[in-house]
């Protein structure tokens, strides 16, 4: 138990969390103004299409109008931009940070209350909720802190949970047969690029095999935490390649999820702070050195 508690707060340089916080806030205007604008356009949709989510009914949030979506949109964008500047000086980051979280949440509820919900925002929303807890930390602080460690661990857990629970949902709704069904083929037929269309025509079995790969990747995602930091970063790079291939095939990218994955990287390097030596993996004592095991554990010489 105490090992788990220590792991949840494993200290990291404050600069890593501070840079992550800046990236989280920089993503807000990109997402709201460019990537996910359906909330804004829903203000123009007929109220007949508004089917508020549970959170919208319980609070209760108002039926969206053009004025409301503009308030959320520009409120969250301006506050996030202000935080990018203010965070560097470590002021106001809690009150403004949670205001950004609340406005962004409302904007997403508006986006998702018209018949479709995306799951790529879970980890990012979690990151938006936890970065205000950092309070005043300097962007170039090399001091290691447990609060910074907890913030990044939450974002990492959000990213991993998105994969793992996505596999869980596939098994719940699609059953074991999901891996051999035509789910990816359907996505290609409905919205495939010429690359994916061509692949489906020439090698439909490859399209289907990709489903085994997706299921394995998502189910094994929690194993990321058992790897050494070096290998963890390589696997995260692999995730980025997977999402790039998905984008080239069906022009879908889980942008906020990709942003959350950055919580695994030594971001302090971006501001010139040297990262501490990588932590050994929990599996290190069983793994040979070339797989990220402890370098001091030499292989036994064969006589």
């Amino acid at each position: 138990m105490s090992g788990l508690v220590r792991w949840l707060h494993a200290p990291v340089p404050e600069a890593r969390a501070a840079v992550f916080r800046v990236l989280v806030y920089l993503f807000v205007p990109l997402d709201v103004l460019v990537l996910h604008t359906s909330g804004e356009y829903h203000g123009h949709a007929d109220p007949a299409f508004y089917q508020p989510l549970l959170v919208g009914r319980v609070l209760p949030l108002p039926t969206p109008t053009v004025e409301l979506v503009q308030l959320c949109k520009w409120g969250v964008v301006l506050l996030a931009c202000a935080l990018v500047v203010l965070c560097v000086r470590g002021r106001y980051s809690r009150v403004l940070g949670w205001t950004v979280f609340a406005l962004y949440l409302e904007y997403q509820v508006i986006a998702f209350s018209y018949g479709k919900v995306d799951h790529d925002r879970f980890g990012y929303l979690l990151a938006l909720a936890v970065v205000p807890t950092l309070g005043a930390v300097r962007l170039r602080s090399a001091t290691r802190s447990e609060a910074a460690g907890w913030t990044l661990r939450m974002a990492q857990l959000g990213a991993v949970a998105t994969y793992f629970y996505a596999a869980f949902a596939k098994l719940r709704f699609g059953g074991l047969g999901w891996v051999t069904s035509g789910t990816v083929a359907r996505a290609v037929i409905r919205r495939g690029t010429w690359v994916a269309d061509e692949l489906l025509r020439r090698a439909p079995s490859l399209i289907q095999a990709s489903q085994w790969g997706i299921m394995a990747m998502e189910l094994l995602a929690p194993g990321l935490f058992a790897l050494s930091e070096r290998w963890r970063r390589r696997v995260v790079a692999g995730f980025f390649v997977f999402h790039l291939v998905t984008y080239v095939s069906i022009t879908i990218a889980f942008w906020p999820h990709l942003l959350t994955l950055l919580a695994f990287l030594p971001l302090e390097r971006l501001v010139g702070v040297t990262p501490p030596p990588p932590e050994p993996s929990p599996l290190a004592r069983w793994l040979p050195a070339r797989l990220g095991g402890r370098p001091d554990r030499r292989p036994v010489a064969v006589p």
Partner: protein, 166 residues
């Protein structure tokens, strides 16, 4: 809660800023509550529970010898042309997947199609307006996971009331 670094943090000890007991406690409680909610949502919940909804994009099986349906809407405009309605938030305020999410209610009450014409009028006042709408689906038959031919089905038609709310 200190005004300095990290909510609930104490002063550096041995170069590491530790969390206070209170800081540890509320963080643990929040994590436990969040984990329980998202686990419940994934195991038992629906989209309605978002952000604790199941991560259900692409989480459905598709019969390799079944059919794939893709919804679209055509419209007759005031200029007499038949055009494809852009089912996107930018086009008519809602996207294709959202229309598909509400398909049964639209088929049961085709007057909801009129709402698309109203949104188009608001978003694109300078373009020819819609006077009649056809809700259709392109049906792709699958044989062994391959495209085995396509056909179209008409689901609903709606004549827009001139100058009205749809």
């Amino acid at each position: 809660m200190s005004a300095g670094r990290g909510a609930g943090a104490t002063a550096p000890v041995g170069g590491v800023v530790r969390l206070s007991r209170a800081g540890l406690a509320w963080r643990g409680a929040v994590l436990l509550a969040g984990t329980l909610l998202v686990t419940y949502g994934t195991a038992r919940g629906t989209d309605d529970l978002w952000p604790f909804a199941p991560m259900s994009q692409f989480a459905f099986g598709v019969d390799l010898d079944g059919e794939i349906r893709s919804t679209y809407v055509d419209a007759l405009t005031t200029e007499g042309d038949v055009v494809r309605v852009p089912l996107s938030p930018r086009g008519v305020g809602v996207g294709r997947a959202e229309v598909e999410g509400q398909l049964p209610s639209i088929v049961a009450d085709p007057s909801k199609l009129g709402a698309l014409a109203v949104a188009q009028r608001r978003l694109h006042p300078d373009e020819p307006q819609y006077v009649r709408l056809w809700l259709r689906q392109e049906v792709t038959r699958l044989r062994g996971g391959r495209d085995a031919g396509r056909s179209d089905e008409l689901l609903a038609t709606w004549d827009v009331v001139p100058g009205g709310q749809g």
